[in-house]
Structures are given as structure tokens and as C-alpha cells.
Amino acid sequence: MAGLELLSDQGYRVDGRRAGELRKIQARMGVFAQADGSAYIEQGNTKALAVVYGPHEIRGSRARALPDRALVNCQYSSATFSTGERKRRPHGDRKSCEMGLQLRQTFEAAILTQLHPRSQIDIYVQVLQADGGTYAACVNAATLAVLDAGIPMRDFVCACSAGFVDGTALADLSHVEEAAGGPQLALALLPASGQIALLEMDARLHEDHLEQVLEAAARAARDVHTLLDRVVRQHVKEASILLGD
């Protein structure tokens, strides 16, 4: 009842950000040597790790192989210590499965799967600390990991969440803002073309406001792209120095 003021009259959010401002993003690529690609990302207090194997031959039953394109297999898990209340099992619950499916949809749209028929690409994402916007952090981490693995993609996939409070759209929600119960929208974008890889919202929001929220999320996703792009360039530069050019 003693409702938290998510957006003050002066236009500040609970953690001092402005409405359209992102949290601080830090990312690293190539964190594991044994995987084909890997990346680690921090968005504020949300931390996620992504690992990519492939493309390789189909594991398990061959029947799953697709004749014309690669199979993208995504698995999402979040560490038992990642949330305020300790979780019982790290993966396999309903929510994790759903998240896995969403990630799969996202990346099937981004990866040029037709280049690798009858093969499989595995993307494993683990959330180490969840402070809102887990889906967005997972997508961003996975993008970097896929890039690190050298798998051809149409474009970066950049994701960001957005909410709606008091007639204003808020970008990149934190856990406190998510918990307040307002509408929340997750958007995965291919920034160069502006195409939407995935859009999800599971709350009621008036049609009139949708455009505004979508716009806020898209702008935030483009900002994320700028940052990720910088990370990739930095990584490539370092790698080329190590290779001894």
C-alpha cells in the first residue's frame, strides 16, 4: 500500500536513473577456453554467463536433424543463489523451460541456420545474479558468445526490457520496478535492420501506450548494441595482438 514511488516528480527512478537510461553494462568475451564461444555480461546487478558449442553433429537421436538448416538448442538455468529467495533447483522448472524456448526462437531468427544443415548449435545460459531483465541479459550474453564462436549471424541480437509507469515508459527495469507489478515488455531487436526477433509482454497495457513503450525498448536495445559492438571490437583487437600480428 505504501506504494513505492517508481518515478519521482523530478523524473528520477528509484535507483537514480532517468526514464530512458540503461544500467551500467560490462561484458567480456571468450571467458572459457574449452567452449567454442563464451561470454559474460553484467547489466547493473544482473549477471549472466553464456556458452556456445557448435555447430556440430546432432547428438542423440538423429531423427531430430533438420535437412535444410541447423538445430538451435538452448538451455537456460539460473543459479540457486541468484535470487532473493533461494531456489530449489537450478534448471528444468517451468520458467526455465519457457525461457529456453524464447531464447531458441530469438536465435533461430538471428543465426543463419541454413548454412549448417543437419547440424546442431548449443547455447547454454546461466544467470548468476538476477536483478531484473534476465531475459535481456541472457540474449545479450548469448549474442556475444555466438559471435565468439564465429557462427554467422544476420546481425547482433540486442534485447532490453521496458515498463510503463505514470504515463512514462521506463527502459531496462530493475528487480524493484518489475516487482511493482506494472506492465513489462521484453524486446529482442536486430538493430541494423530494426527487425524484431522476439517481443513478449504478459500484462495488460492500453493499446495507446504500446507504441511509446515499444519505442523506449527499441531505443534502449540500440544503445545496448553500441555497447556490445564496442566490446566485440575490443575483443578482436586483443585477440589479434595475442595472435602476434
Binding site: 500500500m1 505504501a2 514511488e5 519521482s8 516528480d9 523530478q10 505514470d166 504515463g167 492500453h206 495507446d208
Partner: protein, 996 residues
Amino acid sequence: MIPDWKIVQDYLEILEFPELKGIIFMQTACQAVQHQRGRRQYNKLRNLLKDARHDCVLFANEFQQSCYLPRERGESMEKWQSRSIYSAAVWYYHHCQDRMPIVMVTEDEETIQQYGSDTEGVFVVSFKDYLDNFWPDLKAAHELCESILQSRRERENESQESHGKEYAEHLPLEVLEAGIKSGRYIQGILNVNKHRAQTEAFVRLQGASSKDSDLISDILIHGMKARNRSIHGDVVVVELLPKNEWKGRTTALGESDSDDKASGEAPSEPMPTGRVVGILQKNWRDYVVTFPSKEEVQSQGKNAQKILVTPWDYRIPKIRISTQQAEALQDFRVVVRIDSWESTSMYPNGHFVRVLGRIGDLEGEIATILVENSISVAPFSEAQMCEMPVNTPENPWKVSSEEERERKDLRRTHLVFSIDPRGCEDVDDALSVRALDNGSLELGVHIADVTHFVAPHSYIDIEARTRATTYYLADRRYDMLPSILSADVCSLLGGVDRYAVSVMWELDKTSYEIKKVWYGRTIIQSAYKLFYEAAQELLDGNVHVVDDIPEFRDLDEKSRQAKLDELVWAIGKLTDIARHVRAKRDRCGALELEGVEVRVQLDEKKNIHDLIPKQPLEVHETVAECMILANHWVARKIWESFPHQALLRRHPPPHQEFFSELRECAKAKGFFIDTRSNKTLADSLDNANDPNDPIVNKLLRSMATQAMSNALYFSTGSYAEEEFHHYGLALDKYTHFTSPIRRYSDIIVHRLLMAAISKDKKMESKENLFSNKDLEELCRHINNRNRAAQRSQKQSTELFQCMYFKDKDPETEERCISDGVIYSIRTNGVLVFIPRFGIKGAAYLKNKDGLVISCGPDSHCEWKPGSLQRFQDKITSTTTGGESVRFCLFDHVTVRVSVQASRCHSDTIRLEIIRNEPYVVPDAGLCQQGSLLLKSDLVKEVTRSVEEAQLAQEVTVDVIEEDRQKYCQTKGRSLYTLLEEIRDLALLDVSNSYRI
């Protein structure tokens, strides 16, 4: 100036003083308020920040890189907050390049010592020092500060003493919320019964909880214990008691001072009864109270500093005040605020705020009514007046050439005229009608263009928004806009150019079918400013009234006749159109409720009482119909353009159960009232007409009006389209557009209409409109203010009625005896309506000594021992001697009116039945004259007597002045008087010592 978090918590009321400007609130302090004082105070703070007149800012110091200080290990929250605020103050000082001295105000001694001399230019002082040094003249602030300090000290003392608990503790918020969700508790607004404030209160269900539970009626809260420290108007959470503890409401007429519980009446049907377990939102405001008289103070005894004061409003419990000025304040009406109500204390604690005026004094009592309804009527400030246009004889206001280009010019093409009550200053609306070349008719409604002068978010706009409406009291009015606008530049007076917003319809010549409609800004010149009676005479073809119309006076015979014909044609055509429009609405299956319309009409004419219809002229209906038409079409337009943020007015259909009393009353007279729909209701009300007694119909109509819910403003985004319906007028969409001078809602509607027009023209809208949420909040505010306006109007009328009867001796004065009609029956009395004065009141059939009324052969009434028996539609009083007398509904009786004086509350009218026969008026002409005239006479007479009293005072002053001239005494203090005073002193001293 930067206040500390503690100052913001405790002294916010002082910071609200308009004199204190340039306050920087730190985010740290604001958050402390939010967490510790709850939402109400925090909202107050937010409003303070939003108010442009205060020049206050919020500095988000915790988000500022150089101001943020992490809390250190082991540091207490308070320490850290003080430290943060201080460091932000220092930063602010440097930020202003050391040029502006900054004062940080705190109550914490340690902080003053620690930081006092740390940085030059940043002063840390206590609040008292601050007031003393910077605002030595602001006396009110000092007084307030004192009383806050004192009440705080008291509270601290009290919490140390461990009293026995008077009330149960409130449950924590989480428990309440969970309880409401699970249906165990019920949320609602507490309504205290005015007549039995000690024992009875009802909780009106609110929100979702009423839908799930099968309870329809209100919940009874019996006794102060069960009410558990909640005050009238609070949002409370209630737990239902088990069924065997349910009680019924009392139907007897209670006298506020006598305990009628003892008389052992059978209460009515048991109803759901509950007790308050928590308060969700306290709705405390300023209360007007009276200090006890000297004798009462002595009987209260031991603690002379804590005084129980009695609020003016019966529904508010007594308040405990700590003050030393009690004796000085004895004869005054005083404003206090409630600070807290601990579970250990019988009564709430409060503090004294300001004095209003003497008890019984007209001005003081009017001020009381204003405060009780939270109406503030300070004169308009200079900043607000600066925004006003100038119109003086030297510098007359003119139509600007820019506007001339923008607006449609109707000055030469249209015959525009206004019809208003006689002597009206603020003319909102004017009408026009003319024949077009293509044979159609063109009807125009022209409304004063107030929004042209009142820019959104200007000072005057903010002020008008807070006032929301013009307040009409019995003898005066408080304008929403300054008189330069309301009575001059905006008022559509005759013979001058004025800006207007017009709605014009093109109508078919014969069928009056609406073909086209046009909205827009115009320039008009009203040719005639008519009053209703004259217009009616013209309509009836009596041309002799022409002499009463000033516009015709200076014309020669020929042009006069031509112009007159033109005007008479226009009025006739207008009436014809209005008749058709109305008939069309009737055909659509909707019939207007006469009762409601009379009320609306009367409001528009600023009459005092809703029940006394003026001689209904057809012109009234014509004008009203045109206004309703304009309102309806504007409502449609703005709703089409802004489906989610238009301001409309709806009138929800009434609850059927409220009509039960009406139906029973009608049955007593043999009428059947069908309340199923507005059409059937209006039809059956029309039929319920007793040819011998016209008052019966009036009473039935007023009962029907009372049973209906009030019409409300709302924002279209918040309701479904089916709910827009206006029950009383039977229209699907309705709004208020025609009186922007005296209603803020109309100003909003005007802005919406302008935005809609520019939207149609594909132009970028200049004005930023309210979002649905803001509009909804604004509507709530306007609705509240309207209710307050109605209440204050009613209370002031009652005040005047009481003052009128006060000086008359009821035994001898002819005027105090009048004819009354019984309209409701209770167990120990009847409710009586006196048509002559428009007074409704209770008359007892059983007095305090238990005697009942009986009538002798000459039908004069006496008190005798006996008993009462109540039936559905009559009440019988039987004496021990076997005589009995019967009173039925709608019986005429003779009543004597007297005034029951009350020190702490408003005086009340008392009625006493002296004969069970209609009162025979000695002079029949008096009755015919109509009560309305009497009403205004009444106001005039009271005002005059007050003025006379003032004059008498002035006379004494004059006498002294004369003496002075006569004996050539110096005006100031002469040496003589000085010496005399010294002698007095000396004498006193001597006598004192002598006595010792």
C-alpha cells in the same frame, strides 16, 4: 534554506507558509518523510514542491556524484541522514560560487555543534533560531511552532506514562491487506451519524470488497470503542461481528444532549455490525472548535494546560489541545489540527492554528462554514492580477487585430442577445437565431471565451483550479475568477465586443432537424441583455415591457419597432426550436425528471434553496434547453476527438432500494410511483398530484431527488461507454460547457474543444491536455469542491434562518408560527417541512420529561403523560386519560419555530407542533407572495441588523471624537492620562499589599 529531515517531518505546516520561500528539500529528507510519516504527509510535501508560488525545489542529493555519501559501518540512520544533508548543503553553497549563504535548519543539538562552524557561509541553526532571526514578524508561524512544540512535548510525556489502553491497537498494514483480499475484513469510508455521533457510525463499502460479499447495506459501527479512533471520512478496515451481536439503527429523533438510549425503544431490524481494526487513510483536515467556557474549564480540573475542545462538526470527537491561551480564546471560533490519537487516550491530541472570529458573529460564523468545507477565499494575489487584461475608462479593453483575423466575426451578421436573471453580472452565455439564405435556420449558443484569458498553468489558472467553482453563500459569493474577468472582460454584456466560443447548428426550417454543426472561436456583440421576465413578456406579446429594456430607450419610434419585431421573432423562434428539441428527446424514450431540472435551473439562477421554484417561465426552459443542447453536442465532439481523456458528466441511475421511502409516502396518499426507469418515474411523479395540496407533489419530487445519486464529472478513459449515461437528462453524453466563468470543469472542456478543433484542422495542438489519470484526479477534486460548495450554501442558509428567528420571541411574534407538512414519521416525532421558509426539521411528539402531545377540543396542543404508537404511515399519541391524536403523512399542522442556541455548534431550528390543523394565514396575500421573496428578505434583514450593530459601535467612536474636539484634548497620550495611570497603579499596589 535547507531543512533537516526531522524539520520536514514535524514542521511541514510552517514550511507551507507562503512567506517562506526558496526552500531546498533534500531527497534524503523527503524519503525519510515518506518512510516514517506515510503517504499523506508525503503528498502534502509533493504538493508544496509542485506549487509554483512557493519557489521550492527538490535536490536529489543521493543521485549527485559529489553529494552521495555511503552510510558508514555502525552509523545510525539519523546520523547518516544529517551528514548527507549537510554535505549536500555545502556542495550547494560551493555550487552557487560561495555567493548565496545557505541555512541548514535542524533540531538536533549534536548536529549544530558538529557542523555549526565547519564551513563558512553554511549556517546550521535550530528551527526556533531560524524563525527568530529570519522571520521575526511572522507571528502566525511562531505561534504554530510553539503549539507544535508543546503538543510534541506532551506526547513524549504521555508515552512515558503508561496508561491503561482505551482502544485496541490497529493491526499492521500487511495483515489488513491480506484480510481484505481474503474477504475477512472489509474496506470502506467511515460516516458518522450526525445526530448520534457518540454511538452510531456507518461504513460505506468501497472498491472491490463490496462485489464479492453479499452485503449490500452499510455496516454499522456501534460506539466509540468499536470505532477505534477513526474519524469521520477516514478509509477504514472493518471486521464483521458475529450475527448475534448485530444491532439495529435507531429511528427515534435524538436530541444531541439527551441520552435517548435509556428510553428503551425498540431499534429497527438488526443490520451488519462491525468494528474497526485499522485505518488505511486518515482524512484529517482543519477543524473549527470552541473552547469550553470558564465554568466548564474548572470542572475539567486538574490539568489546566490540556483542554478538551468541542468541534463545530458534531461528527468529530472532542480534541485535546495544549495551550495557555485557553481563557483568551473562550469566546472565539478557533481552527485546530489533529496531530495524533494514541491507543492510550480517550481523545485525539491536536494543536491550535488560528482564530476565526467571535461566536455568534456573522463574519465569524461564515468563516467557520468556509473552513469546515475547506474553502479558501483569500483575495487574488498581485501576481495573479498581473496576468489579467486591463479595462479602465482611460485604457479600454479592445479586440486585437490578430484575434480579429483568427476568429469568425459575428458582430454584424448575427443578432445575439442574452437572457439572465435581473441584475446578473457574469453573463456566460448568449443566444442567436437567424434564417440562412438557403432557407435553413441557424441556432447559435455563444459562451464567454474564458480560456483566452486564462492560460493553462498560469497563476490564475492554478488558483481557479484550486477553487474549482464560484461559491454562492446566502448573502455573498466568492468568485472563481477575479471580477475583471467574471463581471467585465469575459461577461457577454450588451453593446460591447467580446470574445466567445460558439456552437452553431444549421437546422431544417420546418422539422428543426440538425443538419450541420460548427464549433469555433468568435467575436460577438450582444445586442440585448434581457432578463427572464422581460423575455417572457415579449414572448407573450406584451410589448409594454420595452420600457424596461435599456437598449430600446433611446431609439426613435420607427427603428424601435423594427428592432423590436426582430427580437420578438428571434425569441419566438428560439422557444419553438427548444420545444422541438425537447420533444425529440422525449420521443427517444427519455423523459426529463422535473425535480432534477428545477434544481439545476435554480442553481444557474443562484437561488438559495432548491425546493422553492420561482414562477417557472417558459423562457427558463428555452434557455436551459439550448444550454443542454450545446453541452450535449460539445460532449460528443470532445469525446470523439479524445476518447480517453475527455471530461464529461454522468449521472448514474439510482439504487432502487433508496426509493422505498418515496414509494411508501406516495402510497399513503394513494399514489403509485413506478421507479423502474427514469421515464416511468417521471410519468408517475407527474400523475401524483393532489389537486387540493400542491405541496404533496413538491415533497414527492424532492424525495425522488434525494434518493438519486449525484451527477459527477469523470474522465472518459476511466469508464466504459455505457456508463457515460446521464440519467436525469436522459442523454448518452453530457458535459458542462456553458459556464466557464464560474466552473473550472467548463474551462477544461473549452480547452478540450479548442484542441479538438485544431486537431480537425490537422494543426499541432498548442495546449498540452491532461492525461486520463490527471484528469480523473482533477475530476475528483472538482466533484469534492462542488459538494463543498453545495454544503456551504446549505449551511449558510441555515445560519441565516437561525439568525432571523433568533431575536424573535416565539411566544408572541406572528412570524414564528407557520404551516407545516409532515413528510416522515419516526418513533418519537415527525419530520416537518415548512413551505413558507423552506425549512425542514424535526418536531417531537414526546418531550424530555416523557410527556406526549395531546390535542384539546380547540385543537391546541398540550403536553400530557401518555404513550406513542408508530405505524407505517401515521403515529398516534395516546394520553393516560384516553384521549388520542393521530398524525398522518402529509398532514398539515401549525408549528412554532424557535431557535435552539448552541455554543459549540451552529444554532438549530426547533419546531413545535401547537395545533394539529393547518395554520390559517391572517393575511392571505402574504402566502401568495411566494416564499422566495421572503427568502431574500430574510438575508437582507439579517445583514442589515449586523450592519446596524457595527454602526452602533462606530457611533460610540464618533462620540469620543466629538468630546475630544469639544474639550480640545490632545489626541495621543496626554500627561494627564499618564499621571492618572500611575495613580491607578499606585493605588492597586497599596491595596494589594494592604490585603496581604
